[in-house]
Amino acid sequence: MDIPREILLEAQGGSLEAFEKVYKASSSFVYSVAFRVTNSREDAEEVTQDVFLKIHKYLKGFRFKSSFKTWVYRITMNTALNICRRMIKEQSKRVDYEDVIATIAVKDDSINSVDVEHRQAKVQQLLSKLNFQQRSCIILREMEGLSYADIAKALRININTVRSRLKRAREALMGIAKLQGGTI
């Protein structure tokens, strides 16, 4: 997602055409991240919509101190987290977070036929085994390729927290593989 500064400045000035360009350049990664986090296309669309409304609302205050992408990641993660919290609240009778996530994973049946989609479903299943914090770090690192410093900025956490969350997430994933006979 490389959006020229001029386009961002135009969008800051209220140009809807420029904002559409910003949307086209960044919607797929926002939607992908949102889908990985929420594990539902419907919720991912809701997150994406909320993220772009927030971008539109707060873009005037964006001062280019951080990269635009990192700023968008931060908004996306916060919005997705809020949606997840709401889902957990709605399903407050459930015993723990893992159960909720597992339920959400089963809910989306739109990805189960083609090989690519089968792989996507497998990935979602794995992600659903991680808690939100671990999942966020894995998504940003493995799928989006962010550095530790950028993950720390996007999630507003210490860089050592990024390390420890990634380590625990990977230990959990390897534990699952072990249970399944060494393969995922």
Binding site: E20, Y23, S28, S32, Q49, R119, K167, R170, A177, I184
Partner: protein, 170 residues
């Protein structure tokens, strides 16, 4: 560096290419010699890293932009300021013409602006009143002079009923 520390680094900085070149090479040479660490690196890549890499990018439905666009346009329309009364506009214009650089946020500045406007109005009012009083005084003075002169000047008439018409009827 012992195996435990190296395993920690393999799980994080090493696998994520976050290590400085010197340390990275040390771990690489350790992995070549240590079977356990080598196994860990291979398992880690296969089980916890590769499944998440090179996935298809997901694209949202085309209708999503239309929904966002509609919301943005609606918000723009509703957030436009309501038309202010004409009187307020006039005050605002006076204020802007007098103090074009004044910010909106400071209440003190607003007070100064309105106080200045009030002073201008008061000054105009007092000046007007004074002008009116001066003109009034002049008129009264003139009238008084006329009445005084009425009985003293030698114009052919007496003080009481001394008009030509009265003389005609009498």
């Amino acid at each position: 560096m012992n195996c435990e520390r190296i395993k920690e680094l393999i799980m994080t900085d090493y696998i994520d290419n976050e290590l400085k070149s010197g340390l990275k090479e040390k771990i690489e040479s350790h992995i070549k010699e240590c079977a356990n660490c080598r196994q860990l690196e291979q398992d880690l890549k296969r089980q916890a890293c590769l499944p998440f890499r090179n996935l298809e990018t997901l694209i949202p439905d085309d209708t999503l932009w239309q929904k966002i666009r509609e919301r943005v346009v609606t918000e723009q329309l509703t957030s436009e300021p309501a038309r202010e009364p004409i009187f307020v506009n006039i005050l605002e214009r006076i204020k802007n013409s007098l103090f074009p650089t004044f910010g909106e946020s400071l209440g003190l500045k607003r007070v100064v602006v309105y106080a200045s406007i009030l002073i201008v109005f008061c000054t105009l009012g007092i000046t007007g009143k004074m002008l009116y009083s001066q003109r009034n005084n002049a008129y009264v003075k003139e009238e008084v002079t006329d009445y005084i002169e009425l009985g003293t000047l030698d114009n052919g008439y007496t003080d009481d009923l001394g008009t030509a018409i009265e003389e005609f009827f009498l």
